[in-house]
């Protein structure tokens, strides 16, 4: 495929989204069909690009000096791009039904919502396809901005507070990440993403440690989006947004771009050679390990369903970071595997929670009592996702944990073993907080009354697909992992 | 060092005067005293400038008795600068005074802090 199609995959949704917001579409259904069509078209183009990636990149525009905003599709891009472009159309479909419940003064606000939703798609694709750190940074900031209206959607006081926090955390984090960009400009051969890193030249005495410090800054900077402790508190708070946002953006797109950026940073910018075995690695790894446990513990404490899942996301994102900080190809494979698998599992469980919120108006864990009887289909899917998250063997969650643990054990570091331990502790805590919900739904103390309220096909189709994906990705994990291994090995 | 100071006692004096003016302008609350401080400060600078132009034993650069050697005259440029400076200082002082009058008419006090306090109370 011609490289220029990359522009299409990025800018078509952006412009189409802007047009959708501005266009005088009166009927709700027309608007929904248009939004869905945009995402599907983009997804198709993106998939075509991913399957058949163009060999060359494209340069959008020159910034200063030799620094450009350019796009190119490499292995990492393909993984993240594929994840994003598979989930987005489904999430949009789900949103068409969900938003009936959210929007009070209907079409106008909803149009903005879907417009922004589509735009975010384009921006995330740009992050996936970015060819250098500068381009990624630019679209990373854009991502913060375009998602603001989505979190702000309900315009309640809680939403405003959440948005503020989100903005400050994200922009602040980016500011620290920015430092690394500058240093790579100064000390790297290039800022183009290159597997193995770009720091090869002579580094003046004593400045290696400064450079490592800068890496730590950037790790925490990008870590904001990946909800790393201690900068995670925006994520649970952002749960006030409508579920399609929380599910897609705060479980996959936005937070995974943080993790994606960190993988890019470690493996494609600073390079594992430069960082492995230094204090910088141990520090970042330690924080990731702590976050794994911390997120889960908070999730157990939390009673609000969406916030609980958000904390669970925090912990799971740090699995990815843990894999990334192992700084071995195996670690990267583990990180990528979990990135993909967790995306599917978590969006599935979020969407189930969303269905419960939208259809039965239940927001807290203790309200789930006996819900399985009222929404049997939703809860079957929720159970599958929950089991997968816990890492029940056979489902996909087990295999991503397997890859991570393998990487941890193979690395031979004490920290690696501690990481494996943390993953298992977190798995136990996951079992606690997920099973608590499942058990409440299936084994109520008192039989609750209430008519059945399973959602319609627009919600059920995405949900079913996610549940199937949990199972199929588990069963057929070998080819996926093999593909990711090749990426980590630099073969793709 | 000491000899330097003694030799240039006039410059030292002008600097001391400058400092007095400066502190007045900076620290006094009363507006009129501030303006006085301003003038003291400016005057000190002019004194300094004039000193720079003055050369002992020489006279003003006006040709009298057909003497044309430059050695006989003092440097005229600083005097010109002093004149310019005075003009500037006069206009600035005038502006300050007019402002002070306005404030006094409004608040019947010359204390700047007091005025600020009143303004806060007005809530403007």
């Amino acid at each position: 495929m011609s490289a220029y199609w990359i522009y299409f995959a990025i800018f078509f949704p952006i412009f189409a989204g802007v047009l959708l917001i501005l266009a005088p579409v009166k009927k709700r259904n027309t608007m929904l069909v248009i939004a869905e069509a945009i995402t599907i078209i983009t997804a198709i183009v993106a998939w075509m690009l991913i399957i058949n990636p163009p060999a060359t990149g494209v340069v959008l525009f020159k910034f200063v000096d030799k620094y450009t905003i350019s796009f190119k599709i490499d292995g990492m891009s393909r993984v993240f791009g594929a994840l994003i472009s598979s989930l987005w159309p489904l999430a949009t479909l789900y949103a068409t039904e969900y938003m009936e419940h959210e929007a009070s003064d209907k079409t106008l606000k909803e149009k903005t919502f879907f417009g922004m939703y589509v735009i975010t798609f384009g921006v995330t694709m740009a992050i996936a396809f970015a060819d250098n750190l500068l381009a990624m940074y630019c679209f990373y900031e854009m991502l913060t901005l375009v998602t603001i209206p989505l979190i702000l959607f309900t315009l309640s006081d809680a939403a405003i507070a959440a948005t503020r926090k989100y903005i400050v955390y994200s922009l602040g984090g980016a500011a620290f990440a920015f430092i690394s960009l500058i240093f790579l400009m100064a000390y790297g051969d290039t800022i183009q993403f290159t597997l193995g890193g770009v720091i090869h030249g002579e580094i003046p005495d004593g400045r290696e440690n400064v450079l490592r410090l800068v890496y730590v800054f950037a790790f925490f900077g990008f870590g904001v989006k990946a909800a790393l402790w201690p900068v995670n508190s925006w994520l649970p708070q952002a749960g006030v947004a409508p579920t399609p946002v929380t599910a897609l953006l705060h479980a996959v797109a936005v937070v995974k771009s943080g993790a994606f950026a960190i993988i890019r940073l470690i493996y494609y910018c600073f390079g594992t050679e430069f960082l492995r075995g230094t204090w910088a690695q141990y520090l970042t790894m330690g924080v990731a390990i702590f976050t794994v446990v911390y997120g889960c513990s908070m999730a157990v404490k939390e009673r609000h369903i969406k916030r609980r899942l958000a904390y669970s996301t925090i912990s799971n994102l740090s699995y990815i970071l843990l894999g990334a900080t192992m700084m071995t190809p195996l670690g990267m494979t583990g990180a990528l595997t979990h990135m993909v698998f967790h995306g599917v599992m978590k969006i599935g469980s979020f969407f189930c929670a969303g269905a419960v919120i939208a259809k039965a108006h239940k927001n807290y864990v203790y309200e789930l009592e006996g819900m399985a009887k009222r929404m049997p289909k939703v809860f079957v899917i929720f159970t599958v996702c929950a089991l997968s998250l816990m890492g029940v063997p056979g489902l996909c969650g087990f295999f991503s944990k397997w890859q991570l643990a393998k990487a941890g054990v193979e690395s031979g570091m004490t920290m690696g073993y501690i990481g494996v331990g943390a993953i298992l502790i977190s798995a136990l805590l996951t079992a606690i907080y997920m099973m608590q919900m499942v058990l409440r739904a299936y084994f109520p103390v008192e039989e609750t009354e209430g008519e059945k309220c399973d959602p319609s096909w627009r919600m059920l189709v995405p949900l079913t697909l996610f549940a199937l994906a949990c199972i199929l990705l588990g069963v057929f994990n070998a080819p996926v992992v093999a593909f990711l291994e090749k990426i980590a090995g630099g073969l793709i | 060092m000491n000899t330097n100071l003694l030799n240039n006692y006039a410059e030292a004096v002008s600097m001391i005067i400058f400092a007095i003016g400066f502190t007045n302008l900076l620290l006094h609350k009363n507006l009129i005293k501030k303006i006085i401080g301003l003038n003291i400060m400016d005057t000190a600078v002019y004194l300094f400038l004039a000193l720079k132009g003055y050369i002992k034993g020489h006279v003003a650069p006006i040709i009298i008795d057909g003497v044309v050697e430059p050695e006989a005259y003092i440097n005229p440029i600083p005097s010109g600068l002093v004149l310019t400076g005075i003009v500037v200082s006069v206009s600035v002082t005038a502006l300050m005074l007019s402002l002070t009058i306005r404030l006094y008419k409004r608040y019947h006090t010359l204390d700047l802090d007091e005025i600020s306090l009143r303004l806060k109370k007005e809530g403007l």
């Binding site: 200063v64 702000l152 500011a175 960009l181 100064a186 | 403007l124």
Partner: protein, 502 residues
């Protein structure tokens, strides 16, 4: 025989002076037109000059027939021309954007006075940009002070007069110090023309004579200009002066006046003392500390404000800190960053002021945040302008703020000693900026409370009611984005200009 273009600096200055005298005879409306035309003409002349210098290099222009080292000189170069053009552009936009407010806030009989002051202000700015003579610079600094004071107090209420007095006092302290600095330099070198002083200074440095007086002279001049351009901790006058004056004044003061002084400082550093000499004196370390503190404290003060105009004013303190930070890095790259930041901040801050007034207008002229809730829906274009300005301040790519942040960081990397502090300060400041600017943006885009619906003063202002204002804001946004996207030619220009300085 010199080219005709070389007369332009002098023409601009004289034209300004003439038109300001003439305006005193005119009525408000006529004065407005005179002012507009004047700004355009001066801007056009500066632009021509820029291109001329790009082609032919810089020149000095002797006034009358007195040659150096006695006569008075004007110097034209790329950077001067560009600055002149830019100042005119910003001033024009600030004037058009604040016009409506001006009519409301200034008495009819005093309208023409306002234009006189603006003309004078332009005159002094242009003179500061072009002059090659230190004492002339001093005189125009004073003219600048006086006209700025007038601009502040033209809206006559207690606050503005008090602000004007405070401004005046601080300014006078600054100019006093500046003057002493000049005198000391004159004492040591015997010259007032920049290029001549530089030669003598270099000779002195080589011979090692008069080291201490030289240092003191530089320190006095820097301190004077720092006070005048409101570097922390001399910023106490700033929030009142910017926060309560009429909006055009605030925009001009914040984006041009302080920048004029800073430009003069850069000029002195390059053309009077010599960059090397300044770098070797450790004065830059002092300004570095104050700049860093200014960035942090400015932002923190801004965070604590609940008044939108004062918040924007305090943000100026931080931004001035940025510029001084760039200068203090003591590298060529840092200087380029500082100059770019002058442009970027001028464009952004005036836009923020102009947009803020649109928002307050739609909120019963209240400047408190709680009344501003949802104001971006009542005045859409102002909301857009404020949002764009805020994003630029935070340093989002596409906007000019990003480029200046990029440049500062790059400059910091080049200076190993100051690298980490600079970066950390910048990063923290970005976070603080994000906190208070984005908080405001979220606030103005939050829903309207039913409380305010239909209440007097909380009205929707449509675009067609304010065409001039709308155009201004759109131009501002365009200017900002242009600075952000097409930074390369501008940076080249700055680089060339700085080379010509040396």
């Amino acid at each position: 025989m010199r080219d005709f273009v070389q007369n332009f600096p002098l023409f601009s200055i004289i034209l300004c002076l003439v038109s300001s005298s003439a305006s005193s005879l005119l009525k408000g409306k006529a004065a407005k037109w005179v002012n507009t035309v004047l700004i355009c003409v001066v801007g056009a002349m500066s632009l021509t000059l820029t291109f001329y210098c790009l082609a032919h290099g810089s020149f000095t222009y002797t006034m009358g027939h007195v040659p150096a080292p006695w006569g008075n000189e004007v110097r034209g170069g790329v950077l001067e021309g560009a600055m002149g053009t830019f100042f005119c552009l910003i001033m024009l936009l600030s004037m058009t954007g604040g016009r409506k407010k001006l009519l409301e806030e200034v008495e009819d009989t005093k309208q023409n006075l306002y234009y006189i002051l603006v003309n004078l202000m332009l005159c002094s700015l242009i003179a500061l940009v072009y002059t090659n003579d230190l004492f002339t610079a001093y005189v125009f600094v004073e003219i600048n002070t006086i006209s700025a004071c007038g601009l502040i107090m033209i809206r006559q209420n207690g606050r503005t007069i008090e602000a004007a007095v405070r401004y005046m006092i601080m300014s006078l302290l600054g100019s006093g110090l500046f003057l002493v600095g000049i005198c000391l330099l004159y004492d040591i070198t015997g010259h007032l023309l920049m290029s001549n002083i530089k030669e003598s200074v270099q000779a002195l440095v080589e011979s090692g004579q008069y080291g201490e007086p030289l240092l003191i002279a530089i320190a006095f001049m820097m301190m004077g200009l720092a006070i005048k351009s409101a570097l922390f901790p001399f910023h106490a006058w700033l929030p009142d002066a910017y926060g309560y004056s009429t909006i055009s004044s605030a925009a001009i003061l914040s984006s041009l006046v302080s920048k004029g002084y800073i430009f003069l400082l850069i000029k002195i550093i390059y053309r009077v003392i010599g960059f090397e000499v300044v770098r070797e004196s450790l004065l830059l370390n002092v300004t570095f500390v104050f700049a860093g503190l200014g960035i942090i404290f400015g932002s923190i003060s801004a965070m604590r404000e609940d008044d939108i105009r004062r918040m924007v004013s305090f943000s100026s303190v931080a931004q001035i800190g940025y510029i001084y930070l760039g200068i203090s890095l003591g590298t060529q790259v840092g200087m380029v960053a500082a100059v770019f930041q002058i442009l970027s901040h001028a464009a952004t801050k005036s836009m923020l002021f102009i947009s803020a007034i649109g928002l307050t207008d739609a909120s019963n002229t209240s400047r408190k945040f709680k009344d501003l809730t949802g104001s971006a829906y009542r005045n859409k274009i102002a909301g857009m302008g404020f949002a764009a300005g805020a994003l630029s301040m935070v340093g989002i790519p596409l906007f000019s703020g990003f480029i200046s942040k990029l440049l500062f960081m790059q400059a910091a990397v080049a200076n190993y000693g100051k690298m980490l502090p600079t970066m950390i300060v910048l990063a923290i400041s970005t976070i603080l900026n994000a906190i208070y600017f984005m908080k405001t943006v979220v606030r103005i885009y939050s829903p309207e409370r039913d409380l305010y619906k239909g209440r007097e003063g909380f009205k929707v202002i449509h675009t067609r009611e304010q065409i001039e204002y709308t155009c201004t804001v759109i131009l501002f946004i365009a200017l900002n984005v242009a600075l952000g996207l097409c930074s390369e030619p501008i940076l080249e220009l700055i680089g060339k200009g700085l080379e010509m300085f040396a």
